[in-house]
């Protein structure tokens, strides 16, 4: 499978199913790549898969594509491959890849199940930008007959908040769209903050749409719980110390990186929220405190 085919498969996945997470689409594309790989050795397969992950993360600069790809690779090669026959090994890897994909696609529902009891009846929730996991959680809360209202930030520059508001209105949830600058104003009215994440880093902090950090800081200042919902395939081996330490390839869109002359003049798309500002993380591995994220990652990679 050539690079172009790979990218095309990835894009087609995203087009066909707008509800799919970019990481899941990437994993599907990688699985297709694995099936059609013509390599002869495990080492060769690994390196070509690595190249494929690189290619995909250049197409979509989101952290999740990177982390999902890495975890996929880790998961399929974590098994013992002590077969003399290469095709047998590959078969096993494909099988494990499918297991991984199945696990990944179930994770959103698992999170919804874990998280919705935290939304009490009559709660006022602040959320940021568009997140499918948050949407699924709120849906689960509605299904369990909770009445609550949601504030959504507009989240410039792509106005993802409007998209979120639309989706929430469809679920008959009372929604108010607020300005990004009004977070501090609205915080005192809010009972909890619920955001998704593009990536969860080793420190237990998150990388998410720009503006998340300021919400977290505001929430901390007013002692409101700040909850993050994220699937475990978003766990990434990265340890930023501060905003400046986050790699540029995540901060800017892929095409901006290619075209821009001076990155300091560009708007970053994501920011880093430190673990000390996060109350809890809801993942398909369970409800985690920020420090438990690193434990899970160590278990996975050591």
């Amino acid at each position: 499978m050539s690079t172009d085919d790979l990218i095309e498969t990835f894009r087609a996945q995203l087009r066909d199913d707008p509800d799919v997470a970019s990481a899941v689409a990437a994993i599907r594309a990688l699985l297709g790549f694995l099936r059609q790989d013509r390599g002869e050795t495990i080492q060769g397969l690994r390196s070509s898969l690595r190249d494929a992950i690189d290619t995909l993360s250049r197409v979509d600069s989101s952290v999740a594509v990177n982390s999902g790809g890495e975890l996929f690779l880790r998961f399929i090669s974590l098994t013992s491959l002590e077969y003399s026959d290469y095709s047998k090994c590959k078969e096993i890897m494909i099988e494990r890849g499918e297991i991984f994909l199945r696990k990944v696609s179930l994770s959103r529902n698992k999170i919804a199940k874990l998280c919705h009891p935290f939304i009490r009846d009559g709660a006022r929730i602040l959320t940021h930008a568009y997140s499918r996991v948050v949407l699924r959680v709120l849906e689960a809360a509605v299904e369990s007959k909770k009445r609550f209202s949601v504030y959504v930030t507009e989240s410039q520059p792509d106005q993802a908040g409007q998209k979120m508001a639309k989706a929430l209105r469809k679920l008959n949830i009372p929604v108010t769209v607020i300005l990004d600058a009004a977070v501090g104003y609205i915080m005192e009215k809010v009972d909890l903050v619920l955001v998704g994440a593009e990536g969860v880093v080793e420190s237990g902090g998150i990388i998410n749409k720009i503006g998340t950090n300021q919400i977290a800081v505001c929430a901390k200042a007013q002692n409101k719980p700040f909850y993050v919902v994220a699937e475990s395939f978003k766990f990434v081996r990265l340890f930023p110390l501060n905003q400046q330490d986050v790699p540029d390839k995540f901060k800017y869109k892929a095409d901006t990186l290619k075209t821009s002359q001076n990155l300091t003049e560009e708007h970053p798309w994501i920011d880093y929220t430190s673990p000390s500002l996060i109350t809890l993380l809801f993942t398909d591995l369970g409800v985690l405190t920020p420090s438990a994220v690193s434990d899970e990652l160590i278990k996975l990679y050591l």
């Binding site: 330490d245 000390s276 420090s291 690193s294 160590i298 050591l302």
Partner: protein, 747 residues
Amino acid sequence: MVTLTFWPLESSTSSTTSSVGICCVSCREKGLAAGIGSPAPSATHSGSGGPSRIIPARQLLPTCWALRRKLLKVSLPPSVGSCRTGMEAEQGEELVGKARGPTSTFTCSAAPQCLHPDRAPCAHGWLWFPCGWGSQGVHLCWSREREGAGDRGAALAALCIAGRRSGNDASYYQSAARNTETECCKLSTAGGRGQRWARVAAGRQPGQCHRGTKQGKRPRAAAPRLPACMYFSSCSLRCSTSAGGPELSREEKLQLRKEKKQQKKKKRNEKGTAAEPPEPGTAADPAQPRVTPHPASPPASANAPNDGEKPPGGKSKAELRAERRAKQEAERAQKQAKKAELGQGAAPAKPRLTPTEAPSVVKRLPEHVQVDDPAAQRKLAKKLERQQVPLRQDYGTKVNLFSHLHQYSRKKPLTQQMSIPSTVIHPAVVRLGLQYSQGIINGSNARCIALLEVFKQLIRDYSTPPNEELSRDLVAKLKPHISFLNQCRPLSVSMGNAIKFLKKEISCLPDTLREEEAKEKLQGTIDNYLREKIVLAAEAISKSAFEKINDNDVILVYGCSSLVNRTLCDAHTQTDRTFRVIVVDSRPRLEGRETLRRLVRHGIHCTYVMINAISYVLPEVSKVLLGAHALLANGSVMSRVGTSQIALVSKAYNVPVLVCCETYKFCERVQTDSFVSNELDDPDDLIVQRKGQAQLGGWAENKSLRLLNLVYDVTPPDLVDLVITDLGMIPCTSVPVVLRVKNVDQQ
């Protein structure tokens, strides 16, 4: 159905002397398992539906857990008799004996209800030891029973008796074997990691069980016949570890070894009689260690010597009598145990006097942090005297809060007053100790490397005395050396971990190795340790630290850490990033000067300030890079005093704090402050020479003046953003996970 088959050790010799391999498990985690006598006992395990297979004795241990759950049929060679403890459900169950010999069937008379001490009613923690005692088949079954359960089980020939729970973890076991002898074993579980160690608290009086028997007490004449408690009694040590060694966990071995030492006196008393082999026929293979150090002659004339010819299932008169008597014994023993327990309950704080007693459940504090406790000091002095290591005297008055720590004077080295016999302490170790105490070798890594190099030399110069085993004797030989070094300067965490590693490696040496090979192997392991844990780890750390050093960074370092220096030098030479370093230093050691020297030699742009100026320099700093003495299990960083202050100010200025630390310095201890476990340096270091006058010079004469020269402090985990280890970058709260993963790897 599960069938365990035990083959006699010497089937060619008289059937009355055969011994069998055993399978016994006290607990799944650590496996207090031991096997006696049989070189290759095997068990046939045919699980339901599964194909049957032969399990070699070594592998028996892990399997046993599964086996025990439904241990239905146990077969033993008829010559050995049978022994049985079982679980609740198995009372009256049939035992089918199928060995190299006629098949015989036994019925279990009663099964004691066993309860696992940790996991309530799941029925485990019993051991059974069908050790061949001739035809009498003395078997000992140990069961852990809940309070009040009493001895409901009496196996055919032997008895197994009540363990009872006391305190949190310790369980007392008494086993009455045959009817004349009783031994009391006390198993206690050391808290924390589920380690179990067994000790014999043995009053070896027939029919009685004493817990508080003094060490010097002579056993009565009947005692040498004692067939029980092989595993934990000193005299049986040799055979149990050499023959059944592989099934003993390593901790067990060490513990047993300790036991051996402690019971030396007793052993000496027994030796005369105990050395007699039960029957000359068993000594077919002289290389094979004795299975039974006690004479296996029937303890009482009532037990007819022709028992062996009888099928073990059938009860002879003598056996019946024996059973009855054993039952009585057991009851008596139980009563006594109860009494003893009550007595203990009345005075729980009473310090333990006899070394044969089990240590308290609470993990013992190391001596070097209880200097203010005279009892602990007496104990230490005694220990040192035994090891012929001089005791170093404390120097000067101490600040009250730190009176539990040692404070030595550099001017009075340990070797000044007393000569140290080179038979006890290797001259290289003496030199190393002096280098430690004079501060010539300093720094966690350097001290550890020096230690291991000296130990290598020590191993090279070591030769095993006759009648000793290298794996035992060497560990014992190391002990005085370690005590000596500890006297010179308290061991660092890195040294502690290295010593722990080395001891484990020594005790795990296979017996089959020749001395030269074993020594070579040990030196090789030490070299590997040095390379992997220190050299390569430093390389890995400096590689991952590159990621965090950006262009135009201003990096603040404190004191002198070999790792941090190396990282900075590597970053300077191997990358094209330009960065600047601020070296912070503090009195009295002024170690920062060494850092400065090294960095400047590499051409790194440096600034040198004292620690009083950090709030002035911090606004321009972009990262703080610190070394560590140790990383504790709660994520605290133990490091040179002053580190905590730097981390605190950095936090206030929102500057990220990075700590570099190899994983071999990770420690399972938890500490929240710097008081409990720390080190006091020579207070004379604080004296300043100014204009030819020593200020503070006469501090010792002034009663209201005390000096404190603290060596380490503890930085709380929330002040540290990131720890760079050889495993990559982790938050410091992940230390326990790394420790756990490491422990799993080592096992």
